[in-house]
């Protein structure tokens, strides 16, 4: 009964008095998440295989640009056969290759990062 009374009494107040406040969640910064590797790659028949490697960012951080990971050794494999190791293009912030693919081929990009294979 008390709960019902309070809910009825707040029907209007709910709408008028709801409020947002900033909340510091720095305690949830996490070394593992901060250093997680994201590999993005677009593969098409008309261009070479390219890979972008970035790290996540803590949401409330000032994030003026991406955090690129530049020291990876990324291998490109086509249908399970390794073709080459990619090179890093610092201007484009991309790992690039000379490998072109044709439709139907299976493309794998892999690397080692923080003692794990990605």
């Amino acid at each position: 009964m008390h709960l019902r009374k309070y809910i009825l009494a707040t029907l209007l107040i709910f709408v008028l008095a709801s409020c947002y406040r900033e909340q510091d969640l720095d305690q949830y910064r996490n070394d593992e998440l901060s250093n997680m590797l994201t590999l993005n790659s677009l593969v098409s028949a008309d261009s070479t295989v390219q890979v972008a490697a970035t790290k996540p960012y803590f949401f409330s951080d000032v994030h003026k640009g991406r955090t690129f990971v530049t020291n990876l050794d990324i291998a490109v494999s086509i249908n399970g056969e390794e073709k080459e190791h990619m090179t890093y293009d610092a201007n484009r912030h991309l790992y690039v290759s000379n490998t072109k693919v044709i439709p139907g081929e299976s493309v794998t990009v892999s690397t080692r990062y923080r003692d794990k294979t990605v």
Partner: protein
């Protein structure tokens, strides 16, 4: 609204009829529409509106007829009852890009309903055969008719209305239970209680037969202290499952089915109770609760999908919680005060959730403190105050974001995969690490009240109650959201983007009063 009729047939027989009805409604909404810019004298070229609303409605009604008959050393009671609970949740969005052009009016609406209708009968007998032995026994029958999830979605887009409906499937179950409890007071030093309840529940062609044993032993340690240990197994044939981090009264009650077994819990407890100097009474209780067949919504499933059966949205798992509760009460003259403290851990483990790894429950509230005091000024006026502190609930929040391809591949000859675009380019994708990974800020509030008893000339009594909920207006958070203070679409200066986490609080100070009249 309550109505109660009592009729005393004779010295040994009496009859009661009780009816009740209660229904609550709540609406939250936001309407956006065009307006002149500050200082502007010109009308805007277009007129639009965009209105979002959330409507919640829930309540129940019921009637019970009860017959009491004094039999030998005890009381025989028989009752028949009917009760109906129902809830509705409506999410609606209506918008029109140009109010002068009716063809631009569109909407999307979702209506979720849930109900339980029970009809049943029960017979019970309680008797004190001597100072040593007390018997309680009874038989219950109930027919449950559930609407686990009635779902209707409707859309109006480009003048075409689309309606999706899951046809509101009902689930019916029949439940029969019998129980007997025996309490033995061997002397002033030892009391032993043992009982068992058997339940048979038949639903969707499946039968669940469950036994619920329970026992407790209380032993006095000297004149001032006693120790009590207990065990109880219970089964629950319907569970309220929450769709998100906020508990809503319209959260759906989901019954057991051929696929999901009843929730089974085993509660073990041990406590020490006693008197302390200065008119104080204390209790210390430790407990452990084991739960099986808990229900939660699956990850990645839309609860608003009418093409998915209600059972397909759920998954079952285990839970366990444990803690210690302390309480000290003292009476000094007209003042009575109680201080309570609880220390709690609450865990869940579901094969289909959090990659099968155990995770803290939403109500993993580590610390709870309650301080209550009442002061009886005289026979008419009484004051009371209560302060509550609770460690915040847990919720799932992505604290990190990761990048999507976006414009990282300027040479790509075709648009990128889903997620392409300026919005995702900057915000990235939510990265969820684990379930219930974030704890909300602690809740605390002070409630004050005053009760005034009055007596009318006709002899009937009345009671005024004046209370203040959350007296110091602490805005307790109910959720945390991620927020871009500078919106991407209206602020091209990305250097100044400021992202932040924000808590949402709803309930401020609430004064209220009520009057109760006793017929």
């Amino acid at each position: 609204m309550n109505l109660r009729l009592d009729h005393k047939i004779n010295r040994d027989m009496s009859l009661q009829i009780v009816g009740y009805y209660g229904y609550d409604r709540l609406k939250l909404g936001l309407r956006e529409f065009d307006a002149k810019s500050y200082g502007s004298t010109t009308e805007s070229d277009t007129h639009f509106f965009d209105e979002n609303s959330n409507r919640l409605a829930w309540g129940n009604w019921g009637v019970i007829g009860n017959y009491d008959y004094r039999l030998n050393h005890g009381m025989l009671s028989a009752a028949v009852y009917y009760s109906k609970y129902s809830s509705n949740y409506r999410q609606e969005r209506e918008y029109q890009t140009d109010t002068t052009d009716p063809s631009t009016y569109e909407y999307s609406k979702s209506h979720t309903s849930n109900s339980i209708a029970d009809i049943g009968a029960k017979v019970s007998y309680m008797a004190d055969f001597s100072k040593v032995y007390t018997l309680r026994a009874g038989v219950d029958y109930a027919n449950h008719n559930y609407l686990p999830e009635g779902l209707v979605n409707s859309f109006l887009t480009d003048g075409i209305e689309t309606v999706e409906n899951n046809n509101s499937p009902h689930v019916t179950s029949n439940e029969v239970a019998a129980y007997v409890d025996n309490t033995l007071n061997f002397n002033d030093k030892v009391a032993f209680s043992v009982g068992v309840r058997g339940v048979v529940n038949r639903v969707q062609g499946s039968t669940f037969a469950d036994i619920e044993p329970r026992a407790s032993l209380k032993v006095a340690l000297g004149d001032n202290f006693s120790i009590k240990a207990g065990y109880a197994r219970m089964h629950q044939y319907v569970q309220q499952v929450s769709t998100n981090y906020i508990d809503l009264p319209t959260d759906l009650w989901q019954p057991v089915s051929a696929r999901f077994k009843p929730l089974q819990s085993d509660l073990y407890s041990i406590g020490v109770y006693g008197n302390l100097p200065w008119s104080m009474y204390f209790s210390v209780e430790g407990w452990y609760k084991d739960m099986d067949n808990l229900l939660e919504y699956r990850e990645g499933v839309s609860v608003l999908n009418p093409d998915l059966a209600w059972e397909d949205k759920l998954t079952s798992g285990k839970g366990w919680s444990y803690g210690v509760d302390l309480s000290v009460t003292r009476e000094v003259g007209k003042i009575t005060g109680t201080v309570g403290y609880g220390l709690l851990w609450n865990w869940r483990k579901f094969d289909d959730l959090n990659q099968g790894v155990k995770f803290p429950a939403k109500f993993d509230n580590r610390h709870k403190i309650n301080i209550n005091a009442s002061y009886k000024l005289n026979e008419k006026i009484e004051f009371n105050a209560g302060w509550t502190f609770t460690t915040g609930n847990r919720m799932t929040l992505s604290t990190y974001n990761y990048d999507v391809p976006g414009t990282m591949f300027p040479d790509a000859p075709s648009p990128g995969p889903p997620g392409w675009g300026d919005d995702d380019e900057v915000e990235g994708v939510d990265l969820y690490s684990s379930r219930n990974n974030v704890r909300l800020p602690a809740n605390h509030r002070l409630d004050l009240g005053m009760t005034i008893h009055v007596r009318h000339k006709n002899g009937h009594a009345g009671m005024w109650n004046i209370s203040i909920y959350n007296a110091y207006c602490h805005m307790n958070a109910i959720t945390i959201k991620k927020d871009n203070i500078n919106d991407v679409f209206f602020n091209p200066d990305k250097e100044n983007w400021h992202r932040t986490f924000k808590t949402l609080s709803l309930i401020p100070i609430i004064p209220s009063f009520s009057y109760t009249y006793y017929f």
